[in-house]
Protein backbone atom coordinates (compact mmCIF):
# COMPACT_ATOMS: atom_id res chain seq x y z
CA UNK A 1 0.00 0.00 0.00
CA UNK A 2 1.78 3.15 -1.24
CA UNK A 3 -0.68 5.97 -0.84
CA UNK A 4 -3.57 5.86 1.60
CA UNK A 5 -6.68 6.94 -0.27
CA UNK A 6 -9.86 7.59 1.61
CA UNK A 7 -11.35 4.37 0.24
CA UNK A 8 -8.43 2.22 1.26
CA UNK A 9 -8.25 3.96 4.65
CA UNK A 10 -11.96 3.29 5.11
CA UNK A 11 -11.48 -0.38 4.27
CA UNK A 12 -8.57 -0.62 6.74
CA UNK A 13 -10.68 1.07 9.40
CA UNK A 14 -13.68 -1.20 8.86
CA UNK A 15 -11.53 -4.32 8.76
CA UNK A 16 -9.71 -3.66 12.03
CA UNK A 17 -12.99 -3.38 13.93
CA UNK A 18 -14.36 -6.39 12.09
CA UNK A 19 -11.20 -8.32 13.00
CA UNK A 20 -11.69 -7.49 16.70
CA UNK A 21 -15.18 -8.95 16.53
CA UNK A 22 -14.54 -12.04 14.44
CA UNK A 23 -11.56 -13.09 16.58
CA UNK A 24 -13.47 -12.58 19.83
CA UNK A 25 -16.51 -14.34 18.36
CA UNK A 26 -14.33 -17.33 17.54
CA UNK A 27 -12.76 -17.30 21.04
CA UNK A 28 -16.20 -17.25 22.69
CA UNK A 29 -17.50 -19.99 20.43
CA UNK A 30 -14.68 -22.23 21.75
CA UNK A 31 -16.33 -22.09 25.17
CA UNK A 32 -19.71 -23.39 24.02
CA UNK A 33 -20.54 -26.59 25.94
CA UNK A 34 -17.80 -25.78 28.49
CA UNK A 35 -19.54 -23.01 30.45
CA UNK A 36 -20.20 -23.52 34.17
CA UNK A 37 -23.96 -23.77 33.61
CA UNK A 38 -26.51 -23.95 30.79
CA UNK A 39 -27.67 -20.33 31.04
CA UNK A 40 -24.07 -19.11 30.80
CA UNK A 41 -23.47 -21.38 27.81
CA UNK A 42 -26.42 -19.72 26.08
CA UNK A 43 -25.21 -16.25 27.05
CA UNK A 44 -21.70 -16.90 25.73
CA UNK A 45 -23.13 -18.32 22.53
CA UNK A 46 -25.31 -15.23 22.14
CA UNK A 47 -22.33 -12.94 22.68
CA UNK A 48 -20.32 -14.85 20.07
CA UNK A 49 -23.21 -14.51 17.63
CA UNK A 50 -23.49 -10.76 18.23
CA UNK A 51 -19.75 -10.29 17.62
CA UNK A 52 -19.68 -12.44 14.50
CA UNK A 53 -22.75 -10.60 13.21
CA UNK A 54 -21.05 -7.23 13.65
CA UNK A 55 -17.92 -8.57 11.93
CA UNK A 56 -20.04 -9.89 9.06
CA UNK A 57 -21.73 -6.53 8.49
CA UNK A 58 -18.41 -4.65 8.65
CA UNK A 59 -16.60 -7.10 6.34
CA UNK A 60 -19.54 -6.99 3.88
CA UNK A 61 -19.39 -3.19 3.80
CA UNK A 62 -15.59 -3.25 3.45
CA UNK A 63 -15.92 -5.61 0.49
CA UNK A 64 -18.41 -3.25 -1.09
CA UNK A 65 -16.13 -0.23 -0.60
CA UNK A 66 -13.15 -2.16 -1.92
CA UNK A 67 -15.22 -2.96 -5.00
CA UNK A 68 -13.21 -6.03 -6.00
CA UNK A 69 -13.86 -9.76 -6.02
CA UNK A 70 -13.40 -10.25 -2.31
CA UNK A 71 -16.48 -10.84 -0.15
CA UNK A 72 -16.90 -11.00 3.64
CA UNK A 73 -15.65 -14.61 3.71
CA UNK A 74 -12.60 -13.59 1.72
CA UNK A 75 -11.63 -11.19 4.49
CA UNK A 76 -12.39 -13.56 7.37
CA UNK A 77 -11.17 -16.86 5.95
CA UNK A 78 -8.34 -16.10 3.55
CA UNK A 79 -6.08 -13.70 5.45
CA UNK A 80 -3.28 -14.93 7.67
CA UNK A 81 -1.98 -13.62 11.01
CA UNK A 82 0.21 -10.82 9.61
CA UNK A 83 -2.80 -9.49 7.69
CA UNK A 84 -5.16 -9.58 10.64
CA UNK A 85 -5.42 -6.25 12.47
CA UNK A 86 -7.33 -7.11 15.64
CA UNK A 87 -6.38 -5.96 19.14
CA UNK A 88 -4.14 -8.36 21.06
CA UNK A 89 -6.71 -8.52 23.87
CA UNK A 90 -9.30 -10.47 21.90
CA UNK A 91 -6.90 -13.19 20.72
CA UNK A 92 -5.79 -14.07 24.25
CA UNK A 93 -6.95 -17.53 25.36
CA UNK A 94 -9.24 -17.56 28.37
CA UNK A 95 -7.33 -20.04 30.61
CA UNK A 96 -10.47 -20.26 32.78
CA UNK A 97 -13.92 -18.70 33.18
CA UNK A 98 -12.41 -15.77 35.07
CA UNK A 99 -10.16 -15.10 32.07
CA UNK A 100 -13.14 -15.20 29.71
CA UNK A 101 -15.12 -12.79 31.88
CA UNK A 102 -12.30 -10.27 32.41
CA UNK A 103 -11.40 -10.28 28.71
CA UNK A 104 -15.06 -9.79 27.84
CA UNK A 105 -15.60 -7.04 30.44
CA UNK A 106 -12.61 -4.98 29.30
CA UNK A 107 -13.63 -5.31 25.65
CA UNK A 108 -17.37 -4.71 26.32
CA UNK A 109 -16.53 -1.40 28.00
CA UNK A 110 -14.49 -0.44 24.92
CA UNK A 111 -17.28 -1.53 22.53
CA UNK A 112 -19.93 0.50 24.37
CA UNK A 113 -17.76 3.62 24.22
CA UNK A 114 -16.67 3.02 20.60
CA UNK A 115 -20.07 2.20 19.12
CA UNK A 116 -21.84 5.03 20.95
CA UNK A 117 -19.29 7.39 19.49
CA UNK A 118 -19.63 5.92 15.96
CA UNK A 119 -23.45 6.15 16.15
CA UNK A 120 -23.08 9.68 14.81
CA UNK A 121 -20.65 8.76 12.03
CA UNK A 122 -21.17 10.72 8.81
CA UNK A 123 -21.15 7.34 7.06
CA UNK A 124 -24.76 6.09 7.38
CA UNK A 125 -23.83 2.40 7.11
CA UNK A 126 -21.32 2.69 9.94
CA UNK A 127 -23.81 4.76 11.97
CA UNK A 128 -26.51 2.11 11.53
CA UNK A 129 -24.20 -0.78 12.43
CA UNK A 130 -22.89 1.21 15.39
CA UNK A 131 -26.33 2.12 16.75
CA UNK A 132 -27.34 -1.52 16.87
CA UNK A 133 -23.96 -2.74 18.16
CA UNK A 134 -24.01 -0.12 20.94
CA UNK A 135 -27.29 -1.50 22.27
CA UNK A 136 -26.00 -5.07 22.13
CA UNK A 137 -22.74 -4.05 23.81
CA UNK A 138 -24.72 -2.46 26.66
CA UNK A 139 -26.41 -5.81 27.32
CA UNK A 140 -23.02 -7.54 27.16
CA UNK A 141 -21.45 -5.08 29.60
CA UNK A 142 -24.26 -5.51 32.10
CA UNK A 143 -23.70 -9.25 32.05
CA UNK A 144 -19.91 -9.26 32.17
CA UNK A 145 -19.67 -6.57 34.87
CA UNK A 146 -22.16 -8.54 36.97
CA UNK A 147 -19.88 -11.56 36.84
CA UNK A 148 -16.77 -9.47 37.61
CA UNK A 149 -18.41 -8.32 40.83
CA UNK A 150 -19.85 -11.71 41.77
CA UNK A 151 -16.57 -13.56 41.19
CA UNK A 152 -14.21 -10.82 42.34
CA UNK A 153 -16.10 -10.34 45.58
CA UNK A 154 -16.79 -14.06 45.77
CA UNK A 155 -14.94 -16.95 47.36
CA UNK A 156 -11.16 -16.84 47.97
CA UNK A 157 -10.76 -19.17 44.96
CA UNK A 158 -12.88 -17.06 42.61
CA UNK A 159 -11.17 -13.87 43.80
CA UNK A 160 -7.72 -15.39 43.23
CA UNK A 161 -8.63 -16.43 39.68
CA UNK A 162 -10.20 -13.06 38.88
CA UNK A 163 -7.20 -11.11 40.14
CA UNK A 164 -4.87 -13.38 38.16
CA UNK A 165 -6.96 -12.70 35.04
CA UNK A 166 -6.86 -8.93 35.59
CA UNK A 167 -3.10 -9.09 36.17
CA UNK A 168 -2.67 -11.07 32.96
CA UNK A 169 -4.98 -9.02 30.69
CA UNK A 170 -4.62 -5.42 31.87
CA UNK A 171 -1.45 -5.04 29.76
CA UNK A 172 -3.56 -5.29 26.59
CA UNK A 173 -5.88 -2.38 27.38
CA UNK A 174 -3.79 0.62 26.29
CA UNK A 175 -3.74 -0.71 22.72
CA UNK A 176 -7.48 0.00 22.42
CA UNK A 177 -6.68 3.73 22.54
CA UNK A 178 -3.64 3.95 20.28
CA UNK A 179 -4.26 5.88 17.09
CA UNK A 180 -2.56 6.01 13.70
CA UNK A 181 -2.91 7.88 10.41
CA UNK A 182 -5.96 5.82 9.40
CA UNK A 183 -7.76 6.80 12.60
CA UNK A 184 -6.76 10.42 12.05
CA UNK A 185 -8.05 10.41 8.48
CA UNK A 186 -11.34 8.76 9.47
CA UNK A 187 -11.83 11.12 12.41
CA UNK A 188 -11.11 14.16 10.25
CA UNK A 189 -13.81 13.02 7.80
CA UNK A 190 -16.30 12.50 10.62
CA UNK A 191 -16.51 8.83 9.59
CA UNK A 192 -14.53 7.39 12.49
CA UNK A 193 -13.37 8.41 15.92
CA UNK A 194 -9.87 9.00 17.29
CA UNK A 195 -9.38 6.14 19.78
CA UNK A 196 -7.18 8.25 22.05
CA UNK A 197 -10.23 10.41 22.77
CA UNK A 198 -12.10 7.42 24.14
CA UNK A 199 -9.68 6.34 26.86
CA UNK A 200 -10.87 8.75 29.55
CA UNK A 201 -14.50 7.72 29.11
CA UNK A 202 -13.53 4.05 29.00
CA UNK A 203 -11.54 4.26 32.22
CA UNK A 204 -14.65 5.37 34.10
CA UNK A 205 -16.11 1.92 33.55
CA UNK A 206 -13.65 -0.62 35.03
CA UNK A 207 -12.60 1.41 38.09
CA UNK A 208 -15.90 1.41 40.02
CA UNK A 209 -16.63 -2.20 39.02
CA UNK A 210 -13.19 -3.35 40.19
CA UNK A 211 -13.70 -1.50 43.44
CA UNK A 212 -16.98 -3.26 44.14
CA UNK A 213 -15.38 -6.54 43.05
CA UNK A 214 -12.43 -5.96 45.44
CA UNK A 215 -10.05 -6.25 42.48
CA UNK A 216 -7.08 -4.04 41.72
CA UNK A 217 -5.20 -3.03 38.62
CA UNK A 218 -1.77 -4.65 38.44
CA UNK A 219 1.09 -2.72 39.97
CA UNK A 220 3.23 -3.24 36.86
CA UNK A 221 2.25 -0.51 34.36
CA UNK A 222 3.64 -2.48 31.37
CA UNK A 223 1.45 -2.30 28.24
CA UNK A 224 1.93 -4.03 24.88
CA UNK A 225 0.49 -3.59 21.38
CA UNK A 226 1.10 -4.36 17.70
CA UNK A 227 -2.15 -5.96 16.61
CA UNK A 228 -3.18 -3.13 14.30
CA UNK A 229 -0.01 -3.67 12.24
CA UNK A 230 -0.30 -7.45 12.13
CA UNK A 231 2.21 -8.16 14.94
CA UNK A 232 0.34 -10.66 17.04
CA UNK A 233 0.92 -12.94 19.99
CA UNK A 234 1.48 -16.62 19.25
CA UNK A 235 -2.18 -17.35 19.97
CA UNK A 236 -3.75 -15.85 16.85
CA UNK A 237 -2.18 -18.33 14.46
CA UNK A 238 -3.75 -21.31 16.18
CA UNK A 239 -7.13 -19.60 16.36
CA UNK A 240 -7.08 -18.77 12.64
CA UNK A 241 -5.90 -22.26 11.75
CA UNK A 242 -8.99 -23.72 13.40
CA UNK A 243 -11.33 -21.06 12.04
CA UNK A 244 -10.03 -21.14 8.47
CA UNK A 245 -8.98 -24.71 7.79
CA UNK A 246 -12.17 -25.72 6.02
CA UNK A 247 -12.19 -22.77 3.61
CA UNK A 248 -8.48 -23.26 3.02
CA UNK A 249 -8.82 -27.01 2.46
CA UNK A 250 -11.82 -26.68 0.15
CA UNK A 251 -11.49 -23.24 -1.45
CA UNK A 252 -14.78 -21.72 -2.51
CA UNK A 253 -16.73 -24.11 -0.28
CA UNK A 254 -20.26 -22.93 0.38
CA UNK A 255 -23.47 -24.30 1.93
Amino acid sequence: MNTVTTDSALVTYLVRHADDNVVLGQRLAEYISYAPDLEEDLAIGNFALDHIGVANHLFTYAAQVEGGDRDADGFAMLRSEREYTNLLLVEQPHEDFAGLIVRQFLFDAYQVVLWESLSTSTDPTIAGIAQRAAKEATYHLRHSSGWVIRLGDGTPESHKRMQAAVDRLWKFTAEMFESDSVDAEMAAAGIGVDPSKLSVIWLEIPDPVFEEATLTRPADPFQTSGGRTGMHTEHLGKLLAEMQWMQRSYPGLSW
Partner: protein, 169 residues
Protein backbone atom coordinates in the same frame (compact mmCIF):
# COMPACT_ATOMS: atom_id res chain seq x y z
CA UNK B 1 -47.94 -7.74 -20.40
CA UNK B 2 -51.35 -6.12 -20.65
CA UNK B 3 -53.67 -8.54 -22.39
CA UNK B 4 -53.49 -11.70 -24.39
CA UNK B 5 -56.38 -12.63 -26.65
CA UNK B 6 -56.52 -16.17 -27.93
CA UNK B 7 -58.48 -16.80 -31.11
CA UNK B 8 -61.88 -15.40 -30.11
CA UNK B 9 -62.50 -17.79 -27.22
CA UNK B 10 -60.56 -17.07 -24.03
CA UNK B 11 -59.45 -13.63 -22.96
CA UNK B 12 -56.57 -13.64 -20.51
CA UNK B 13 -55.92 -10.28 -18.95
CA UNK B 14 -52.97 -9.68 -16.70
CA UNK B 15 -52.00 -6.27 -15.46
CA UNK B 16 -48.51 -5.06 -14.55
CA UNK B 17 -47.58 -6.11 -11.06
CA UNK B 18 -47.34 -3.24 -8.62
CA UNK B 19 -45.54 -2.62 -5.36
CA UNK B 20 -48.85 -3.23 -3.60
CA UNK B 21 -48.97 -6.68 -5.22
CA UNK B 22 -45.44 -7.34 -4.02
CA UNK B 23 -46.40 -6.32 -0.48
CA UNK B 24 -49.30 -8.78 -0.50
CA UNK B 25 -46.92 -11.53 -1.61
CA UNK B 26 -44.42 -10.52 1.09
CA UNK B 27 -47.05 -11.05 3.80
CA UNK B 28 -46.14 -14.72 3.43
CA UNK B 29 -42.53 -14.08 4.43
CA UNK B 30 -42.33 -14.67 8.16
CA UNK B 31 -39.62 -14.62 10.79
CA UNK B 32 -38.60 -18.31 10.84
CA UNK B 33 -38.18 -18.29 14.63
CA UNK B 34 -41.46 -16.40 15.19
CA UNK B 35 -43.61 -17.73 12.32
CA UNK B 36 -46.72 -15.82 13.44
CA UNK B 37 -44.94 -12.53 12.64
CA UNK B 38 -44.45 -11.37 9.07
CA UNK B 39 -41.39 -9.30 8.20
CA UNK B 40 -43.70 -6.30 8.07
CA UNK B 41 -45.03 -7.03 11.61
CA UNK B 42 -41.50 -7.18 12.98
CA UNK B 43 -40.51 -4.07 10.96
CA UNK B 44 -37.66 -5.78 9.11
CA UNK B 45 -39.35 -4.78 5.84
CA UNK B 46 -38.59 -1.12 5.18
CA UNK B 47 -39.52 -0.61 1.55
CA UNK B 48 -40.78 -2.17 -1.67
CA UNK B 49 -40.26 -0.70 -5.13
CA UNK B 50 -41.02 -2.06 -8.54
CA UNK B 51 -38.87 -1.24 -11.53
CA UNK B 52 -40.02 -0.77 -15.13
CA UNK B 53 -38.18 -3.93 -16.22
CA UNK B 54 -40.64 -6.00 -14.17
CA UNK B 55 -38.26 -6.32 -11.25
CA UNK B 56 -38.64 -5.54 -7.57
CA UNK B 57 -36.29 -4.05 -5.01
CA UNK B 58 -36.99 -4.84 -1.37
CA UNK B 59 -35.24 -2.91 1.39
CA UNK B 60 -34.77 -4.61 4.75
CA UNK B 61 -33.05 -3.72 8.01
CA UNK B 62 -31.52 -6.47 10.16
CA UNK B 63 -32.66 -6.73 13.78
CA UNK B 64 -29.74 -8.00 15.86
CA UNK B 65 -26.23 -7.90 14.36
CA UNK B 66 -25.88 -11.68 14.40
CA UNK B 67 -29.47 -12.66 13.69
CA UNK B 68 -29.16 -15.93 11.73
CA UNK B 69 -32.74 -15.68 10.46
CA UNK B 70 -31.78 -12.87 8.05
CA UNK B 71 -30.32 -15.26 5.44
CA UNK B 72 -33.52 -17.34 5.42
CA UNK B 73 -35.64 -14.20 5.22
CA UNK B 74 -33.63 -12.87 2.26
CA UNK B 75 -33.96 -16.12 0.37
CA UNK B 76 -37.68 -16.33 1.18
CA UNK B 77 -38.21 -12.79 -0.15
CA UNK B 78 -36.44 -13.75 -3.37
CA UNK B 79 -38.43 -16.96 -3.88
CA UNK B 80 -41.84 -15.45 -3.03
CA UNK B 81 -41.39 -12.54 -5.43
CA UNK B 82 -39.79 -14.61 -8.18
CA UNK B 83 -42.66 -17.09 -8.01
CA UNK B 84 -45.00 -14.11 -8.05
CA UNK B 85 -43.61 -13.07 -11.42
CA UNK B 86 -41.08 -10.38 -10.50
CA UNK B 87 -37.66 -10.57 -12.12
CA UNK B 88 -35.03 -9.53 -11.21
CA UNK B 89 -35.49 -9.38 -7.43
CA UNK B 90 -32.98 -7.29 -5.44
CA UNK B 91 -32.79 -7.27 -1.66
CA UNK B 92 -31.01 -4.24 -0.19
CA UNK B 93 -29.83 -4.56 3.40
CA UNK B 94 -29.82 -1.11 4.97
CA UNK B 95 -28.36 -0.54 8.43
CA UNK B 96 -29.42 3.03 9.03
CA UNK B 97 -31.60 3.93 10.86
CA UNK B 98 -30.90 1.04 13.22
CA UNK B 99 -33.74 -1.37 13.90
CA UNK B 100 -35.56 -0.91 17.18
CA UNK B 101 -38.42 -2.74 18.89
CA UNK B 102 -40.20 0.64 18.97
CA UNK B 103 -40.98 0.02 15.27
CA UNK B 104 -43.09 -3.05 16.08
CA UNK B 105 -46.83 -2.41 15.86
CA UNK B 106 -49.20 -2.90 18.79
CA UNK B 107 -50.73 -5.75 16.80
CA UNK B 108 -47.34 -7.48 16.50
CA UNK B 109 -46.85 -7.17 20.26
CA UNK B 110 -50.28 -8.71 20.86
CA UNK B 111 -49.38 -11.61 18.57
CA UNK B 112 -46.23 -12.18 20.65
CA UNK B 113 -48.23 -12.26 23.89
CA UNK B 114 -50.79 -14.59 22.35
CA UNK B 115 -47.90 -16.91 21.53
CA UNK B 116 -46.63 -16.88 25.12
CA UNK B 117 -43.76 -14.44 24.52
CA UNK B 118 -43.79 -11.30 26.67
CA UNK B 119 -43.61 -8.35 24.24
CA UNK B 120 -41.05 -5.52 24.52
CA UNK B 121 -42.10 -2.31 26.23
CA UNK B 122 -41.21 1.11 24.84
CA UNK B 123 -37.51 1.93 24.72
CA UNK B 124 -36.11 4.00 27.54
CA UNK B 125 -38.84 3.02 29.98
CA UNK B 126 -38.17 0.29 32.52
CA UNK B 127 -41.18 -1.73 31.46
CA UNK B 128 -42.96 -4.15 33.69
CA UNK B 129 -42.79 -7.62 32.22
CA UNK B 130 -46.00 -9.58 32.76
CA UNK B 131 -46.36 -13.35 32.56
CA UNK B 132 -48.04 -14.04 29.20
CA UNK B 133 -49.91 -16.96 30.74
CA UNK B 134 -51.36 -15.58 33.98
CA UNK B 135 -50.50 -11.83 33.70
CA UNK B 136 -48.69 -11.82 37.04
CA UNK B 137 -45.93 -9.25 37.52
CA UNK B 138 -43.93 -11.40 39.97
CA UNK B 139 -41.52 -12.79 37.45
CA UNK B 140 -37.86 -13.73 37.72
CA UNK B 141 -35.19 -13.41 35.03
CA UNK B 142 -33.42 -16.74 34.55
CA UNK B 143 -31.06 -15.41 31.91
CA UNK B 144 -30.86 -12.21 29.89
CA UNK B 145 -29.80 -14.37 26.96
CA UNK B 146 -32.28 -16.95 25.82
CA UNK B 147 -33.11 -19.15 22.90
CA UNK B 148 -32.40 -16.46 20.33
CA UNK B 149 -30.40 -13.23 20.31
CA UNK B 150 -33.58 -11.17 20.78
CA UNK B 151 -35.03 -12.96 23.79
CA UNK B 152 -34.45 -13.42 27.52
CA UNK B 153 -35.59 -16.41 29.53
CA UNK B 154 -37.93 -15.67 32.44
CA UNK B 155 -40.02 -17.68 34.84
CA UNK B 156 -43.29 -16.70 36.51
CA UNK B 157 -43.15 -17.19 40.27
CA UNK B 158 -46.95 -17.27 40.43
CA UNK B 159 -47.95 -19.93 37.92
CA UNK B 160 -44.45 -21.43 37.67
CA UNK B 161 -44.28 -21.36 33.86
CA UNK B 162 -41.09 -20.36 32.04
CA UNK B 163 -41.46 -17.96 29.11
CA UNK B 164 -39.43 -15.85 26.70
CA UNK B 165 -39.28 -12.06 26.84
CA UNK B 166 -38.61 -10.15 23.63
CA UNK B 167 -35.98 -7.61 24.71
CA UNK B 168 -36.58 -3.92 24.12
CA UNK B 169 -33.72 -2.62 22.03
Amino acid sequence: MDAAVLSGVVVVITRTRTAADARVMLERVVDPDLPFLSIEDIAILRGVEVTPDGGATVTITPTYSGCPAMDTIISDIRSVLTNGGFAPVHVDVVHSPAWTTDWMSGEAKEKLAANRIAPPGPLGVTAEVLCPMCSSDTIRTVSEFGSTACKSLMVCTDCGEPFDYFKAI
